[in-house]
């Protein structure tokens, strides 16, 4: 899984800079290829492979949730909902923009929010979370090379974050805690939580233009 992915990158001989560009222009990890196949050809075989890989990860992701109103019994419901969405929406997957894993993460996040909203809210919900994500097609595509570099960077640097930064990112992304909730739980001032997150983002080079962010924190 992740291990294979890393190994694939590492085993490849270091290409020349120019070759590197050419190689990176195609996203060739197996999950992205399978997802494209599901989108284009409605391939059930590819879908089954995606399911075998992602369903156990999604279940684990779901079980990590500490959202109010969430309980472990919902985990397989979430897996089911996410995989159905993956089937339904696969045609909209653009391998230029994100890896299959990133795309499936966003589907899972959106399903989780919508499940929680359906559970806690009796009011009419005019939006599904995925509505927040539709973008006009004319947008400038992010170059795959840039995306790819950034993915590698995040992957490599996430593992090397100091424990206190790693802890907060997990609280936010997996447990679903807001910064405010994380600060309460850890007994830390909100500013400390925010600056730990910020340090982590800087380390992973996720914030690229900090100069216009200087007024913050």
């Amino acid at each position: 899984m992740l291990g294979t992915k890393i190994a694939n990158f590492e085993n490849k001989p270091k290409p020349s800079a120019k070759m590197g560009v050419l190689n990176s222009e195609k996203r060739s990890d197996q999950w992205s290829l399978l997802l494209v196949d599901v989108g284009l050809n409605r391939s059930r075989k590819s879908f089954a492979q995606l399911f075998a890989h992602f369903a156990p990860l999604l279940k684990s992701f779901a079980q990590a949730s500490r959202h109010e109103g969430w309980f472990p019994g919902l985990s397989e419901d979430l897996v089911q909902e996410v995989m159905i969405k993956v089937w339904q929406k696969a045609a909209g997957y653009n391998p230029e923009k994100a890896s299959a894993t990133t795309w499936i993460y966003t589907v899972a996040r959106n399903c989780r929010i919508d499940m929680l909203r359906r559970k806690s809210n009796t009011q009419h919900l005019p939006l599904e979370n995925e509505d927040f994500w539709h973008e006009p097609d004319e947008e400038t595509p992010v170059t795959l090379l840039r995306q790819k570099r950034s993915e590698d960077k995040v992957q490599a640097s996430l593992a090397q974050l100091p424990p206190e930064q790693d802890e907060i990112l997990r609280k936010v992304y997996l447990e679903g805690k807001s910064h405010a909730e994380a600060s309460e739980e850890l007994g830390l001032p909100l500013g400390t939580v925010k600056s730990r997150v910020r340090l982590a983002l800087q380390k992973m080079q996720i914030l690229v233009a900090p100069e216009f962010r200087d007024e913050l924190l």
């Binding site: 075998a52 679903g176 914030l207």
Partner: protein
């Protein structure tokens, strides 16, 4: 399309990417992303944190019937009905278009003052009052201070206040205690999306004229 100069802070984008941001704030961030390639890319990179944490999760065995159950549900899926958006609908970012042009009951523009019209959006949450404001060219809004947070995203045209000029896509956060007097640009009307946390207090002695500003009416 000009490039926005005012952006949500990184913590907000993190919460947006992690899915922990409230609905009203998410609508405002999504509206900003529509205009701002920079923040869109930042969110794409932030999503990779979630992606990495997902792929590093310890796999949990799923029920052996789960795959079949998913496949049988897939076979029963109704044809998806796409909502059609025409050009006029897509005048606004998609989440705003869904809440305005495609709402079950299309919100009505109501006069709030001589220069400001307001249309309340139904968003299924009650923490914030989410609305569109239309300021006429050169229109002055009442000077007011905030007793809670207010997020504003310029959707069309521009407006200014004591500290800056705000144009399409700009994301503005007013905090408790901030006082300002927005003014529409001379060259055309300005439409903003706003999410208001708590009632705002008028600081003009003629405040009573502007009463609608005070009404917090979550929908």
């Amino acid at each position: 399309m000009s490039i926005p100069k005012h952006h949500p802070d990184p913590a907000m984008l993190v919460e947006f990417s992690a899915g922990t941001l409230g609905t009203a704030q998410s609508i405002c961030v999504a509206a900003h992303l529509h205009f701002c390639e920079h923040c869109r890319n930042e969110v794409l990179r932030l999503d990779q944190i979630g992606s990495q944490l997902l792929s590093q999760s310890e796999p949990e065995t799923v029920d052996s019937n789960l795959f079949d159950s998913v496949m049988s549900k897939i076979d029963e899926l109704p044809e998806e009905q796409e909502i059609k958006f025409d050009k006029e609908d897509l005048r606004f970012p998609l989440p705003v278009a869904k809440l305005f042009n495609k709402a079950e009951v299309v919100p009505e523009w109501k006069k709030m003052s001589s220069s400001v019209d307001v249309a309340q959006l139904v968003t299924g949450q009650s923490d914030y009052e989410v609305a569109l404001h239309k300021i006429c060219a050169g229109g002055k809004t009442p000077k007011h201070s905030h007793s809670g947070k207010e997020y504003t995203v310029v959707l069309e045209g521009s407006f200014s206040d004591e500290s800056s000029v705000y144009s399409e896509g700009d994301f503005i956060l007013r905090k408790e205690g901030d006082e300002h007097q927005p003014m529409g640009a001379q060259n055309g009307e300005c439409i903003c999306l706003s999410a208001l946390e708590a009632p705002i207090k008028l600081s003009s002695p003629f405040g009573f004229l502007m009463k609608p500003w005070l009404r917090l009416n979550p929908m």
